[in-house]
């Protein structure tokens, strides 16, 4: 088993800081990267439940690789409507999940960190 690179360890620390107070689970992906799950993330009144987990893979190719896609627990819309185009139901890490596919265009590895993108995804979902 390869241990995560310094870039990944640093990214995980930044995620913990970004979501201070939330439990953050980190498991090796077997190829030098990690799976990260942030618990009890607030996504607002538009969804039931209004709080869920947010998961993603930081691969061994980070920071050259984007963080994509992101996953949350199964959600329904409070207004009963359907999810938008970038959201689909899948199985992730052996559990039911919604996959959120938001790529970073013109991504800069020095700016688009795993932590900032996770927060952007949370906010994007809350604004839907």
């Amino acid at each position: 088993m390869t241990s995560p690179t310094p870039a990944i360890a640093e990214a995980v620390e930044a995620v913990r800081a970004q979501f201070a107070g939330h439990p953050v689970e980190v498991v090796p992906d077997g190829s030098g990267g990690v799976y990260v799950v942030v618990e009890q993330v607030e996504i607002g009144a538009a969804y039931v439940p209004s709080m869920t987990w947010l998961g993603f893979q930081i691969s061994a190719a980070y920071p050259d690789a984007d963080i994509y896609p992101h996953y949350v627990g199964p959600l329904t819309r409070t207004d009963g409507g359907a999810h938008g185009q970038a959201i689909q139901s899948v199985t992730w890490q052996d559990k039911p999940a919604l996959q959120i596919s938001r790529r970073s265009n013109r991504r800069d590895p020095n700016i688009d960190s795993a932590a900032l993108k996770a927060e952007r995804i949370r906010k994007w979902l809350a604004d839907q």
């Binding site: 690179t5 061994a60 050259d64 994509y68 896609p69 996959q99 590895p109």
Partner: protein, 456 residues
Amino acid sequence: MARRPVNPPATGWSLTIPPKIWDRLSDHVLGSAARGAVLLAGLADGPRGPRLLARELILADEGRDYIPGEFGHRALAPTFVRDAVIRARDEGLAYIAAHAHLGLDHVGFSEIDLASHERGYPSLSQISGQVVGALVITDHAAAGDLWLPDGRREELAETIIPTGNLLRLRSQPAEEGRPDSLHDRQARLLGDLGQETLRRLRVAVVGLGGVGSILVEELARLGVGELVLIDDETVEETNLPRLVASGREDIGRLKTEVAARNARRANPDVRLIEIARRVERPESLEELVRCDWIFLAADGDAARHWVNGTVQQYLVPATQVGVKVPLTPQGDVGQIHTATRLVLPGSGCLWCSRLIDPTRLAVDMHPAGERDAAQYVPGVPAPSVITLNTLAAGEAVNHFVFAVVGLHDEENDHASVIHRPRTRQRDLQEPRQDPTCRWCTSTGRLGLGRKGSTPF
């Protein structure tokens, strides 16, 4: 200019210098005035011994840094040496002082050179805790005197510059190669030393499908001594029309197994390393970084990223071979092209050429079970035809053979070749480089070797 001697790979310590760094070094020290420079270099294990990987060049300014020496001759100024050796210590890199001598095919240190090494290097080695040493070059030859941290002293067996013709410089030209009756006809072009060069090389083929199976067949028949075969897939029925020397009985077998059988049939003496893994797996990367050349014949952004990383961090040249058949959902065929891209250390990389997409790379790094669902454009099988693969594979192997035996006309020709068979055009494409690239520049991972860890 006289043709440089063809030197087969030598066993022992080697120094690899990226082409752009070599150009600046040789311009500086081979000019009319006697001038010096220091190379800072990473370290890696190689196929035939430890490898020093030049990462950065510090030129000594004439008059200020390179001054009349206390013991005759000219020498690097003490402050220049101190600054460079402290950087070597802080960055964990080898310190190698370089200068030039007059001459052509032979070079060696003078008595004065050796006396100055003996006076200075034990303490430089103590300060830096790294390999320290000296390199002396002519245009056609190089010799090195290395002082290791454990007190041992080693000669440099060869200095390698992976440019248009891959240069292997020694202190004197290799002895005439032994005749090889099996390869008599091709050795008439490549020379006995050229044939010997192929026999001593360790070459990887990443991706053993349509293009890769042709590469393996040709490399083995040419007499390349050792092949590292990397692919995690098994043969499917729809592969058969493009897999060289395959049959129905191969369906379900690993592509590494089929490629190994074909290689052995082509050359019973070939040494084979079969790795039925994806290229980003540590087991694959460990083998890849100890090769002399890599052929990248796998689709996918992960393969491109990791091979590119190997080229830049471990200074192993590579050729990327690909075929693109644009097809609209309505069935309209666009401009088909085959690409044979030379990826050289420090000369612009696959990231600089925008041939890797960060999001596709993220998806490609997912485990197989999650990859399809994560795809932002659903995958459909791309068209693939053996004749198009042959065009690209032939170009790639031919370039490699000419490079390693020094048959290219232009030393600094680093261009990639794009074939457009529909219009029968053939174009050359120069690599481009982003001066802040994280991979192919001295501010990035260029030449870091083991220090940058594997995987990187």
